[in-house]
C-alpha cells in the first residue's frame, strides 16, 4: 500500500467525478459514493499505517553536511534501536498473513530503489557513508510527468511517517464528517454538489500530503483553496456567505503568492528540482545561498500565515464559519488550515537553516505562532457565536503548532496537529449537533441549559473541551506539554511563557463556551432534542480518540515520534524531548487555573462582573477585542478601500493645493502654445495632410473601382498579364 499510495487520493477524486455526473440519479443523491470512497481511503490509510509501522528501520540517513551530521549522530539514540528490533519481529509474524503487496513493500527499500525512484537517487548515492541511527526509509514512487529541457518533472508519492499519519487523520476526519453530513445536510438544495466538493476537498489534502515534490504539493494546496471557496460559499444566496467565501479565497491567496515565490526560489537554487527530499537536503547541506534561502523561507512563511490563518491574515477563518458546520470541522481539523503547518514540517530543512531554529532566542516562525496564540485566544472570549469561539480557538491552536515548529519542537508540532484534529473535529461536530437542535449558533440568545436535553452531545463536547484545555490524560495534555517542553529545552523561554499564558486562556474560554451552551437557563425557542445517530456516532468516535490519541506519545510508549521522525529531522538534528513531570505540572496548573477562573466567574458568579460598565479601560479593551483589533477594518478600509480612505483625502489635498497650482500655470502657458498650434500646425498642416490622404484614397478608389468588374475572367486576364510581365522581366534582367 505504501508504494501504491496514489490510490488513496485517487479514490476521492474518482468519487468527485462520479458524484458530479451520476450523484443526482442515485438513491442517496451521491452521498453513498462519497462515503464509499472516503471509507475506502480510510481503510487503505490504516493498511498503509500498519505497513509503515512494520517496515524495518534500516535506513541510514546520509549526512547533508559536516555540522548537521555531528548533530544527527547525537539525536534520538534512545528510541530507534528498540523500535528496529521490535518491528523486525513483528514484520515476520505479519508476513504470512499479509498479501503480496506487503511483500513488495518490504522489498522496496532494497530492490526497487533504482528503477522508479528517481527522486531518491541522490539520497541512495550518498547513503554509502554511515551516520546516525537508522530510521524507516520513505517509500517513494514516481513517474515522469513531463519534461522541459533537461528538467524532468515527476509526479509521485513519498510516504513517510508524517505522510502516513496525516493521511490517516485526514481520511478519518473526512469520513466522520461525511457520515455527519448525511444527516446534518439532509434536504439541502445542493446536497449532491456538497458531497462532490467534500470529496474533492479531501482529495486535495491527500494529494498535498502524499506529494513527493513541491509542484504536486502546490497542486493539492490550490485544490483546497478552490474547494474551501466552494464549501464556505455553499449557501451563496445570502450575500454574507458568498462574501465570506471570497474573503477566505482572497486572503489565503495573498499568502499563496508567497508559496509560488518561495517554491520558485527553491526550484532555481536547489538545482532545478521540485523534489522535496532533495530541497531539504540541499538546504541542510548549505548548497543554497544564504540570501536565497532566507528569502524563500520568508515567502513560504507568508503562505503559511495565509493558509494556516496566522496573525495577521487570520481574519478569514472566523468568517469561514459561514459554511456548513461539518465543513468547518473538516477545514479546521484535518484539511486546509493544517496545510500551512504541514508545509513548514515538510520543508523543515529550509526553515531550520534559514531561521537558525536550532539557535534559540526569537525567530520569525515562532514569533508568528506565538503572537497568534495570544491574539486569537483573547478574541475567543468576546464571541457569542459558538462556532466563532471554536474558530478563534483553532487559530490559537494553529499558532501553537507553528510556534512548536518555530522553536524546533518538530515532533511536538506535528503531534499537536494530530491530537488537535481529533478534539477540534469533535468540538465542531458537537457545535453542529447543538445547532441542529436549537437552530442557532448564538450561545447567548439561542443556547444554555442544554445539558439534560442533549446528554451525548454534552458529554462528548465536554471531553473535547477538556482535551483542548489540556487536562490529564486527554489528548491535548500530551501534545501541549511537548510543545512547552520543546520551547523551554531549545532555549525559547519567551515562547514557553506565551505557551503557558495561551494554555490558561484556552482553558478559560472553553469553560465559558461550555457554560454558555450547556448550563444555566435555556434561552432559545422551541424544544431542543438529542441528535440522531448519524450525528452522535461520529461524536462518540471522536470523543474516544480525543481521550486516547495523546497516549500515542505518552512517556514509555512514544510511538508517534518513533513513527514520524524522518530523514529531514534526523539530518537537521532536531531533538525530541520526552516527558518531563515538572513541565507537565506547570502546564496542567495553567489549564486548571483557566478552568477554575471560568468556573468561578460563571458558576459561582465571582470576580469582576460588569467590569466593562464600570471601568473605561476594560471597556476599551473589550471594544478592541470585539472589533477584532480592527484588522478587518484595516484590510477593507485602508488597503482595499484605500482610494476612498484618508490616503485618498491626503492625495486630494496635495492635488488641490500643490499640483493644481503647477498644473494651472502650465495650463495657461500651454494654452497659448496650443492656440498657435491649433491655428497653424493643426488646421493647416496636419488637417491638410489628413484630408489630403482621405481625398486621395477616395479618388483613387473610385478610379480603380472601374477595374473591379466582378468578372472572373477579367481577373484571370490581369493575373496572366501580370505573370507575363514578371516573366518577361525575369528573362530580360536576370
Amino acid at each position: 500500500m505504501l508504494r501504491n499510495a496514489w490510490v488513496i487520493p485517487a479514490l476521492p477524486v474518482l468519487s468527485f467525478v462520479l458524484i458530479l455526473f451520476f450523484g443526482r440519479r442515485l438513491p442517496g443523491k451521491g452521498h453513498e459514493l462519497g462515503l464509499a470512497a472516503v471509507g475506502g481511503a480510510l481503510l487503505l490509510s490504516v493498511v498503509a499505517l500498519v505497513q509503515w509501522v512494520d517496515l524495518p528501520a534500516d535506513y541510514e540517513v546520509p549526512p547533508p553536511g559536516e555540522h548537521a551530521a555531528a548533530d544527527a549522530a547525537g539525536a534520538g539514540e534512545d528510541h530507534a534501536e528498540e523500535g528496529a528490533a521490535e518491528e523486525d519481529g513483528h514484520a515476520d509474524e505479519e508476513g504470512a498473513a499479509a498479501a503480496e503487496e506487503e511483500h513488495a513493500d518490504g522489498a522496496a527499500p532494497a530492490a526497487s530503489a533504482g528503477d522508479e525512484e528517481g527522486g531518491d537517487g541522490a539520497a541512495a548515492a550518498a547513503e554509502e557513508e554511515h551516520h546516525a541511527e537508522p530510521i524507516r526509509r520513505p517509500v517513494a514512487r514516481e513517474v515522469l510527468w513531463f519534461s522541459s529541457g533537461d528538467v524532468e518533472i515527476k509526479a509521485g508519492t513519498r510516504m513517510d511517517g508524517m505522510a502516513v499519519i496525516l493521511v490517516f487523520t485526514v481520511c478519518l476526519i473526512s469520513f466522520l464528517v461525511h457520515v455527519f453530513s448525511t444527516n446534518y445536510m439532509h434536504d439541502d438544495r445542493r446536497y449532491t454538489h456538497y458531497f462532490a466538493s467534500l470529496s474533492l476537498f479531501t482529495a486535495g489534502m491527500l494529494i498535498m500530503v502524499t506529494a513527493s515534490n513541491t509542484l504536486q504539493l502546490l497542486f493539492g494546496w490550490e485544490m483546497m483553496g478552490l474547494c474551501s471557496f466552494m464549501l464556505i460559499g455553499h449557501w451563496w444566496e445570502e450575500k454574507d456567505n458568498s462574501d465570506a467565501a471570497l474573503k477566505a479565497f482572497f486572503t489565503t491567496r495573498t499568502g499563496d503568492i508567497g508559496l509560488l515565490v518561495g517554491l520558485s526560489i527553491l526550484f532555481v537554487t536547489a538545482g532545478s528540482t521540485f523534489d522535496i527530499a532533495a530541497i531539504n537536503d540541499a538546504a541542510l547541506a548549505g548548497d543554497i545561498g544564504r540570501t536565497a534561502l532566507v528569502a524563500a523561507a520568508a515567502a513560504l512563511l507568508c503562505a503559511v500565515v495565509g493558509k494556516s490563518a496566522q496573525f495577521p491574515l487570520h481574519t478569514w477563518l472566523p468568517d469561514a464559519m459561514a459554511g456548513p458546520t461539518p465543513v468547518s470541522a473538516l477545514i479546521h481539523a484535518a484539511t486546509m488550515v493544517v496545510a500551512g503547518v504541514y508545509l513548514v514540517a515538510r520543508l523543515y530543512g529550509v526553515f531550520w537553516e534559514a531561521f537558525d531554529i536550532g539557535a534559540g532566542g526569537i525567530n520569525p516562525v515562532a514569533l508568528v505562532g506565538g503572537v497568534t496564540v495570544l491574539i486569537a485566544a483573547a478574541l475567543a472570549f468576546v464571541q457569542s457565536d459558538i462556532k466563532k469561539v471554536l474558530a478563534y480557538s483553532t487559530v490559537s491552536q494553529l499558532g501553537y503548532m507553528v510556534m512548536a515548529l518555530g522553536v524546533g519542537a518538530w515532533t511536538a508540532g506535528l503531534f499537536h496537529l494530530f491530537t488537535h484534529a481529533m478534539f477540534k473535529g469533535l468540538l465542531f461536530l458537537g457545535a453542529g449537533s447543538v445547532s441542529h437542535a436549537v437552530h442557532s449558533f448564538d450561545m447567548k440568545k439561542g443556547m444554555g441549559g442544554l445539558r439534560p436535553h442533549m446528554p451525548i452531545t454534552y458529554r462528548t463536547f465536554l471531553i473535547g473541551s477538556l482535551a483542548l484545555a489540556g487536562v490529564f490524560p486527554l489528548a491535548g495534555f500530551w501534545s501541549k506539554d511537548e510543545i512547552l517542553l520543546g520551547a523551554s529545552a531549545n532555549g525559547y523561554q519567551l515562547f514557553l511563557v506565551v505557551g503557558l499564558i495561551g494554555a490558561f486562556m484556552t482553558a478559560a474560554y472553553m469553560t465559558r463556551c461550555v457554560y454558555l451552551t450547556f448550563f444555566g437557563e435555556y434561552r432559545g425557542h422551541g424544544h431542543p432534542h438529542e441528535s440522531p445517530r448519524a450525528i452522535t456516532g461520529p461524536l462518540v468516535v471522536l470523543a474516544f480518540l480525543a481521550v486516547t490519541a495523546g497516549l500515542l506519545n505518552a512517556p514509555g510508549i512514544e510511538l508517534f515520534s518513533e513513527w514520524t521522525e524522518g530523514a529531514t529531522t534526523v539530518a537537521a538534528g532536531v531533538e525530541h524531548h520526552s516527558f518531563s513531570v515538572g513541565m507537565a505540572l506547570l502546564g496542567s496548573l495553567m489549564g486548571f487555573a483557566g478552568i477554575g477562573a471560568g468556573y468561578a466567574y460563571y458558576w459561582r458568579n465571582l470576580g469582576p462582573h460588569r467590569l466593562t460598565e464600570r471601568s473605561g479601560a476594560a471597556l476599551s479593551g473589550y471594544r478592541i477585542l470585539e472589533n477584532k483589533y480592527w484588522l478587518d477594518r484595516l484590510y477593507s478600509d485602508m488597503i482595499v478601500g484605500g482610494i476612498k480612505g484618508p490616503v485618498a483625502r491626503a492625495a486630494y489635498w496635495t492635488n488641490q493645493r500643490i499640483i493644481d497650482g503647477v498644473v494651472n500655470a502650465v495650463g495657461i502657458g500651454s494654452r497659448a502654445v496650443a492656440n498657435f498650434t491649433y491655428d497653424v500646425v493643426d488646421q493647416k498642416v496636419v488637417d491638410g495632410v489628413v484630408n489630403g490622404t482621405g481625398i486621395g484614397a477616395e479618388e483613387g478608389g473610385s478610379a480603380l473601382s472601374v477595374l473591379q468588374t466582378g468578372r472572373v475572367q477579367q481577373y484571370a486576364a490581369f493575373l496572366f498579364g501580370g505573370v507575363v510581365l514578371l516573366g518577361g522581366a525575369l528573362v530580360l534582367f536576370a
Binding site: 480603380l704 473601382s705 477595374l707 473591379q708 468588374t709 466582378g710 468578372r711 472572373v712 475572367q713 484571370a716 486576364a717 496572366f720
Partner: protein, 99 residues
Amino acid sequence: MYLNQFLFLAAFLFCVGVYGVLARKNGVLVLMSVELILNAVNVNLVAFGAFHDTVVGQVFALFVIAIAAAEVGVGLAIVLLIYRNKHSIDLTEVDLMKG
C-alpha cells in the same frame, strides 16, 4: 532523347488552356481549360524528370494530379450552385462582386 518536342507540346497546351480560361463563357469549359494548363505543367515535369534521369518529376506530377482533382471537385460544385441560382453557367453574368 529530344526535350524540345515535349516542351513545345506543353507550351501549346498551356496556350490553349489560357485562351480557354480567358475567352470561354461556359464555366465548365473554363474549368476544363484550367485542367489543360495543369496538364501542360505535368508534361513539363515528367519530361524534365526523364531528361535528368530522376523520378522526382513524376512524383511531383502525381501530386499535381491529385490536387487538380480536388480543385475541379470544388470548382464543379461552385458551378453547380451558380446554375441552381441563375439557371445559367455563363461566367459573364456572375458579377456580384462588381465594385
